[in-house]
C-alpha cells in the first residue's frame, strides 16, 4: 500500500483540491510545475545549501540520557528547535520561497498560529527580498506577542484576523481571501501539510529532510536506521509528516502523532481532530474536521496556538484510517508537566507544541530496548509567558 499522494492529489479518500474557481489558475500552475521545479538541479542545490549554511542543518539527533533513565527506554530528540528561527517551519519556507521565485511571484502571503511559520516566512522573505504579509488570528497576536514583533522587525506586515475565534483557522481563511483577491503576483506559503493539492505533498517533501536525517543519524549512532517508534505532535501535521516521511514504508516502525486535547476530549475546549472530528471539507481538502452535525466548523481550543486548528492534513487522515500511524492526545496540563520535565532533566525548554509529543511518553508501553525518536519541533522562547504564568517562576 502506498501512503503517498496519488496522481489526482488524494491520500486514499482524503485530500483533493476543493478550491473556488478564483484560485484555480494558481493551484493548477502549482500542480503542473511543483515536481519539475523541486526536482531540478538548481532548486536542489539552492535548497540544500540554504538548509546547511543558513538554517544550520543537519539538526542534531540527541540521545537524552536523563530522560531515557527516567522512562527506562532509549529516547532520542530530533532537535528541530535548534534550526534558525527556532522550529521545523523554516524547512518548508525555504523550499516555498525558492519555488515562488521560480514561478516569478513577487508577493508572499502566509497564515500563522503560534507565529513560528510567520517568523519563518518573514525570514525567508527578508532573505529573498520579497514583500511579505502574514495573517494571524487576533487572539494569537496577543498570546504570541514576541513573534509578532519579530515578524515586523523582519519587514513583514502582520494583519490580525478578527473573525471566528481569532486563531489559526481564521488566519487561514483570511490568507485564502487575500490570494483570491491577488491572483497574479502572489504566492501563498501554507505552513502545514493542509490546503489543496499539491500543498500537503509539497510541504511534506520539504519537511521530509527530518526523517532523512534521522535515518542516517541513527545508523551513525546505533548502527541501525530504524527506530522502534517516532513521536511527533500534530496540528495540521507538518513536523509529523516530515518525521514520518521516510519511515512510512518501514512498517516495523511505529508512528505516533499526538494531538492537542486542550482541556480534555470530553470537554468542548479541545483541538483533537482525529478523536473528535469526522470527514469533511475545510480549507480546500477533504480530511477529518471538527464540526457540528450540520457541517459548521467547530472552534477548537488548545493552550498551544500552533495546534489550535480544527482540521488535520489529509496524509494523516489516511494514515489514521489505514491504521499505519496511531494518534494519541495530550491535555494542556499534561503538556505543561512534560515541558517542565524536559527542561529540568535535559536543559531544553521545548515549545508547547512539541511538549505534546513528550507528554505521550507516559501514555505508551515503553520497553527498555525500544528506540524512541521524539521530534522536538520547536523551542519554547515564544511560550515563556505561558510557562512563567503557570509555574510562577
Amino acid at each position: 500500500m502506498s501512503y503517498q499522494v496519488n496522481r489526482k492529489g488524494y491520500y486514499g479518500e482524503f485530500g483533493g483540491a476543493y478550491i473556488p474557481e478564483m484560485m484555480h489558475p494558481n493551484i493548477e500552475e502549482l500542480q503542473e510545475k511543483y515536481m519539475e521545479i523541486i526536482n531540478s538541479y538548481n532548486f536542489k542545490q539552492d535548497f540544500i545549501n540554504l538548509l546547511k549554511h543558513y538554517v544550520g542543518r543537519p539538526s542534531p539527533l540527541y540521545y537524552a540520557r536523563r530522560m531515557s533513565e527516567r522512562y527506562q527506554s532509549h529516547i532520542f530528540l530530533k532537535r528541530e528547535d535548534l534550526n534558525h528561527t527556532g522550529s521545523h517551519k523554516i524547512n518548508n519556507t525555504i523550499g516555498q520561497i525558492l519555488l515562488a521565485k521560480s514561478l516569478g511571484k513577487t508577493r508572499i502571503i502566509a497564515e500563522t498560529g503560534a507565529g513560528q511559520h510567520g517568523v519563518a516566512t518573514a525570514t525567508v522573505c527578508a532573505l529573498m527580498d520579497m514583500k511579505c504579509i502574514v495573517y494571524m488570528g487576533a487572539l494569537d497576536v496577543q498570546r504570541q506577542a514576541p513573534n509578532v514583533k519579530k515578524m515586523r522587525m523582519l519587514g513583514a506586515e502582520v494583519i490580525a484576523a478578527e473573525s471566528g475565534n481569532k486563531t489559526l483557522k481564521d488566519a487561514t481563511n483570511e490568507a485564502m481571501r487575500d490570494w483570491i483577491n491577488n491572483p497574479v503576483d502572489t504566492h501563498y506559503i501554507i505552513g502545514s501539510v493542509v490546503g489543496p493539492h499539491p500543498y500537503p505533498d509539497m510541504v511534506a517533501r520539504f519537511q521530509s529532510v527530518i526523517s532523512e536525517e534521522i535515518k542516517w543519524q541513527l545508523d551513525e549512532q546505533l548502527g541501525r536506521e530504524l527506530p522502534t517508534r517516532i513521536l511527533a505532535c500534530v496540528g495540521g501535521g507538518s513536523n509529523a509528516a516530515g518525521a514520518f516521511y521516510h519511515f512510512l514504508d518501514d512498517e516495523s516502525v511505529e508512528l505516533i502523532g499526538i494531538e492537542a486535547a486542550g482541556k480534555g476530549v470530553d470537554t468542548d475546549e479541545s483541538a483533537a481532530t482525529l478523536t473528535l472530528g469526522k470527514p469533511g471539507v475545510l480549507h480546500s481538502s477533504r480530511s477529518f474536521v471538527m464540526q457540528t452535525k450540520d457541517g459548521q466548523i467547530i472552534e477548537p481550543y488548545s493552550i498551544s496556538a500552533g495546534l489550535d486548528y480544527p482540521g488535520i492534513g489529509p496524509m494523516h487522515a489516511n494514515l489514521f484510517a489505514t491504521k499505519r500511524a496511531k494518534y494519541l492526545w495530550a491535555t494542556d496540563d499534561e503538556v505543561l508537566e512534560a515541558a517542565l520535565e524536559l527542561t529540568q532533566l535535559e536543559g531544553i525548554i521545548p515549545a508547547l507544541e512539541s511538549a505534546h509529543a513528550l507528554a505521550a511518553l507516559k501514555k505508551i508501553d515503553l520497553k527498555p530496548e525500544d528506540v524512541n525518536v521524539i521530534n522536538l519541533s520547536g523551542r519554547g522562547d515564544k511560550d515563556m509567558e505561558t510557562y512563567l504564568n503557570h509555574f510562577g517562576y
Binding site: E21, M22, G164, I180, N181, L282, H283, V289, Q291, D294
Partner: protein, 260 residues
C-alpha cells in the same frame, strides 16, 4: 426535463436581475418574506445563501450575514422546512448557494432530493471544482434536475472556459474580477476586455455577471456584456436599517432597475 432556469433564459434575453441573500438574516424566519418581496419587486432569479462558518470566497458583508444567521439558528434542515410550500406562491427560478461541507454532512443524495421536493432549480457551490463535480456530483444533480452553476474569472483560460461551458446547463456565473464577494464596484478597462473576450466566444450557455454589482450604474454596465447580473453583498447590506423589510427590498430593487 423542464427547469425554471432554462425557461427564464428562453423568455428573457437581457437585463436579467438575480439577487442573493443569506437565509436566516437578519432574522431566522425572514427567508420566505424576503423571497416573496423580491419577486413582488420584479427580480428574475433568486440565490438563497446557505450560511457556512468559514466562507472563504466571501467578503465582510456576507461573512457577517452568515455569522448572524448561524447564531440565529439557521441550518440546511431548517432552511428546507422554511421552503416547504414556497412553490405555491413563487414561480421564478430559485438557486441555493453555499459551501460544500454542510451539503456533504446533510448527505448529497438526501440534499438533492430535498431540493427537488421544495422546488429548487440549481446550485452554486463555489468550493466544488469542475473536476470533482464531473466525477462525483454531476449524476446526482442531474437525477434531481438541478443545474450546477459554475464560475469563471478574468484569469480563466479560453480552454477551461470551453470546458466549463460544456459542463454547464443553466447559466455561467461570470465573476467580474478575481475577488471575494462585495469587493469595490467599478468596471475597469481590464474587466471590459474580459467581458468582451468572453462575449465574443459565443458560448452555449447564457451568462450573468456578479461580484461588484451594487446599483443601477454597475447593473446597466454589466448588462451590456451579458444576459444580466447578480447582486449579493449590496442587497445584504441594504437589509440593515430600521425600515420594514418590504420598504427596504422594494427601495433597493427600484434603485437598481429604475435608478430611483
Amino acid at each position: 426535463m423542464k427547469n425554471r432556469i432554462n425557461q427564464l433564459f428562453l423568455d428573457k434575453k437581457e437585463n436579467i436581475l438575480s439577487v442573493y441573500f443569506t437565509a436566516g438574516y437578519p432574522q431566522l424566519d425572514d427567508t420566505v418574506s424576503i423571497i416573496e418581496k423580491l419577486v413582488a419587486s420584479g427580480v428574475d432569479l433568486i440565490e438563497i445563501g446557505m450560511p457556512f462558518s468559514d466562507p472563504v470566497a466571501d467578503g465582510p458583508v456576507i461573512q457577517n450575514s452568515s455569522l448572524v444567521s448561524l447564531r440565529n439558528g439557521m441550518s440546511i434542515e431548517k432552511l428546507f422546512d422554511q421552503l416547504i410550500g414556497i412553490r405555491e406562491t413563487v414561480s421564478i427560478p430559485l438557486i441555493l448557494m453555499g459551501y460544500l461541507n454542510p451539503v456533504i454532512q446533510y448527505g448529497l443524495e438526501a440534499f438533492c432530493r430535498k431540493c427537488a421536493e421544495v422546488g429548487i432549480d440549481g446550485l452554486i457551490l463555489p468550493d466544488l471544482p469542475l473536476n470533482e463535480y464531473q466525477e462525483n456530483y454531476r449524476e446526482v444533480f442531474a437525477r434531481y434536475n438541478l443545474h450546477n452553476i459554475l464560475l469563471i474569472t478574468p484569469q480563466t483560460s479560453d480552454k477551461r472556459l470551453k470546458e466549463i461551458d460544456e459542463a454547464s446547463s443553466g447559466f455561467i456565473y461570470m465573476v467580474s474580477s478575481s475577488s471575494t464577494t462585495g469587493a469595490k464596484s467599478s468596471v475597469a478597462d481590464f474587466q471590459k476586455d474580459y467581458f468582451e473576450r468572453v462575449k465574443a466566444m459565443e458560448l452555449t450557455n447564457p451568462r450573468l455577471i456578479g461580484f461588484g454589482i451594487s446599483n443601477k450604474e454597475t447593473f446597466d454596465n454589466a448588462c451590456q456584456y451579458a444576459e444580466g447580473a447578480i447582486i449579493g453583498s449590496a442587497f445584504v447590506k441594504a437589509l440593515d436599517g430600521n425600515e420594514s423589510l418590504d420598504v427596504k427590498i422594494s427601495n433597493f430593487v427600484n434603485q437598481v432597475v429604475k435608478g430611483v
